[in-house]
């Protein structure tokens, strides 16, 4: 028996002490298996979300209404692919390969953010995704910049910088449309109507119903509760909507002087579960697009490997 098996409790205590002291856990450090598994699940889901998230925005890339907007959107989607790459790499430090993660995505075992199961139906949706979806992502991600796992925390820091840029670009699209023609204002309002509630759901279930939250908080994988993050997002976003002259689709939304926060209506978790379980308009399309890209690209990846092997063999032969 080696040291690890001899003293699991001591190791776990030392691990927790390190986490409590706000020190980063690095790939070579000992860590509880459940910590590793939780991180793999969360980080791969995060990576998958970046990659699947390219699709709803990519849906408007060929139809962007100006060359400048097309360039900005293209750069943004490229950033998202890059975020996916960092995150897959960071997850790989936990002993899982990118191929394994893809397999889990394609088999349905791993999830991606369910927000991407909604369709992008007008150009305003590109604005709404940047403003709301990226806005919500940032709130989540800022908290994760202090995550106990070093590679994840560092990836988050890098990602946060770019995301805040994306969020401003999204808001700018909304602004332009909210100040535009009647049809543009309608599109902007319609986009807000459709994206508002799904965005709030991105923060996950209420704390009282969030099963794993306690342990994740203790391990500092999670630094703030779902409800706190959601409130933070709402408080930041309501004034932005007011500035745009758009109406948030929630009759219960009201500033609560006492709490110093906005009160808001109840989230329809039935709808959330329904979309997670396959009833989003795009669940099938999104997954199929990824599977098709992966399967359809197999011959290319095989060719690249085969060519590299041939080159290597020639080098050896020549030596």
């Amino acid at each position: 028996m080696d040291a690890i098996n001899k003293e699991p409790e001591a190791l776990e205590a030392a691990f927790q002490a390190k986490v409590d002291a706000e020190q980063r856990i690095e790939p070579k450090d000992w860590m509880p298996e459940k910590y590793r598994q939780t991180l793999i699940r969360q980080m791969s889901q995060h990576a998958h979300s970046e990659v699947v998230g390219m699709l709803p925005e990519g849906n408007w890339l060929t139809r962007a209404p100006s060359l400048k907007r097309k360039a900005i959107l293209m750069a943004k989607i490229q950033d998202e692919g890059g975020h996916g790459l960092y995150l897959y790499s960071a997850a790989e430090t936990l002993g899982i390969s990118r191929d394994e993660m893809f397999e889990q995505l394609h088999s349905g075992k791993a999830k991606y953010s369910t927000i991407f199961n909604y369709p992008t139906l007008s150009w305003a949706d590109i604005g709404a995704i940047g403003w709301l979806v990226d806005g919500a992502a940032i709130v989540n991600q800022i908290a994760l910049c202090r995550c106990s796992y070093g590679p994840y925390a560092r990836a988050m820091i890098r990602i946060c910088k770019e995301e805040s840029f994306h969020q401003r670009q999204g808001y700018e699209i909304m602004m332009t449309m909210a100040q535009g023609t009647k049809e543009q204002r309608e599109m902007a309002q319609d986009a807000l109507n459709r994206w508002w509630w799904p965005t709030l759901m991105m923060f996950g279930p209420h704390d009282r119903e969030s099963a794993h939250s306690g342990q994740s908080m203790k391990w500092k994988i999670k630094r703030q509760s779902n409800d706190d993050l959601r409130q933070k997002f709402i408080d930041a976003t309501v004034p932005q909507a007011e500035f745009l002259g758009l109406r948030i689709p929630d009759d219960k939304l009201k500033w609560n002087e006492e709490r110093g926060h906005y009160d808001f209506g109840e989230i329809d978790w039935e709808e959330f579960r329904s979309v997670v379980n396959g009833n989003g308009l795009c669940n099938r399309e999104r997954l199929q697009a990824r599977v098709d890209a992966h399967d359809g690209g197999r011959w290319v990846r095989e060719a690249a490997l085969a060519h590299a092997a041939k080159k290597e063999a020639r080098k050896v032969e020549a030596a």
């Binding site: 699709l55 962007a64 209404p65 293209m74 692919g81 150009w123 543009q184 011959w299 290319v300 690249a304």
Partner: protein, 252 residues
């Protein structure tokens, strides 16, 4: 055609080439064979889009009728486009996309190298800036054509098929017409007909390393300089131009 009109037309050809190929690459977004290629293809697409914006904006100024880059991009119908036929061809599989890219990258590299010493300083500046990007594009497509050509049996077959099926679009790149002649005479443009030899040498080297056969020159098509395109362009434009066409009064 007046000198000004020819100058405009010349810039339009350059800008349209970059824009249409960039648009085609945008279609790959999220569907590439690996994540790294999603990044590479959007990167190249972005470069091309950037070139297009500079060239079309400049073309609009030369024309002097108040058309900016967006007016030129979103409010011209098929017959007014001047991009090479090669570039509007559908993406096909990854081998097709790479063959199209290699043929154009190798051509554009030489063309823009020449344009760097254009007497039109603004054009020379755009060319110089773009040439760095194009050097990378050519490296990228060259690498892939070699990898796929000298990869597996399947990839070799696909790559050869792609090269064969696009070969007839090559000669048009090196055509010269009155506009080209006038621009060469004015020191603004490049004599593309003179570039064919070097292009052939480059491509032959790539083919050799990729174990690909150079196709026979059995057919060729042309017409884009007079706005005679393939049937593919109309669909591309319908999609690309939808919003500005549907909401002519809107700003975005």
């Amino acid at each position: 055609m007046t000198d000004q009109k020819m100058h405009f037309d010349y810039l339009l050809r350059l800008g349209d080439n970059s824009l249409i190929l960039g648009q085609r690459l945008a279609e790959w977004c999220g569907h590439a064979p690996m994540l790294e290629e999603d990044l590479a293809l959007t990167n190249i697409g972005l470069d091309l889009l950037g070139q297009a914006r500079m060239l079309l904006a400049y073309a609009g100024e030369v024309e002097g009728k108040g058309r900016d880059e967006d007016r030129l991009a979103f409010h011209r119908d098929t017959m007014a486009w001047r991009n090479l036929l090669l570039l509007e061809q559908p993406n096909g599989d990854f081998a097709h996309t790479m063959a199209r890219q290699l043929f154009f990258d190798a051509f554009q590299y030489q063309q823009f190298a020449g344009l760097c010493s254009s007497s039109d300083e603004r054009l020379a500046g755009i060319a110089a800036k773009s040439l760095k990007e194009i050097t990378y594009h050519r490296r990228h497509s060259t690498d892939w054509v070699i990898r796929l050509g000298d990869g597996t049996e399947e990839s070799h077959e696909r790559m050869q098929r792609a090269v064969d099926s696009l070969w007839g679009y090559v000669p048009e790149m090196f055509d010269m017409d009155a506009v080209d002649d006038a621009m060469v005479a004015a020191g603004i443009g490049v004599d593309v007909a003179a570039l064919r030899g070097e292009w052939d040498r480059y491509i032959d080297e790539v083919f050799a390393e990729a174990t690909l056969s150079r196709p026979e020159d059995s057919w060729s098509v042309r017409g884009s300089r007079e706005g005679k395109h393939s049937e593919h362009l109309g669909y591309l434009l319908a999609e690309m131009q939808f919003l500005p066409r549907a909401y002519p009064d809107a700003k975005w």
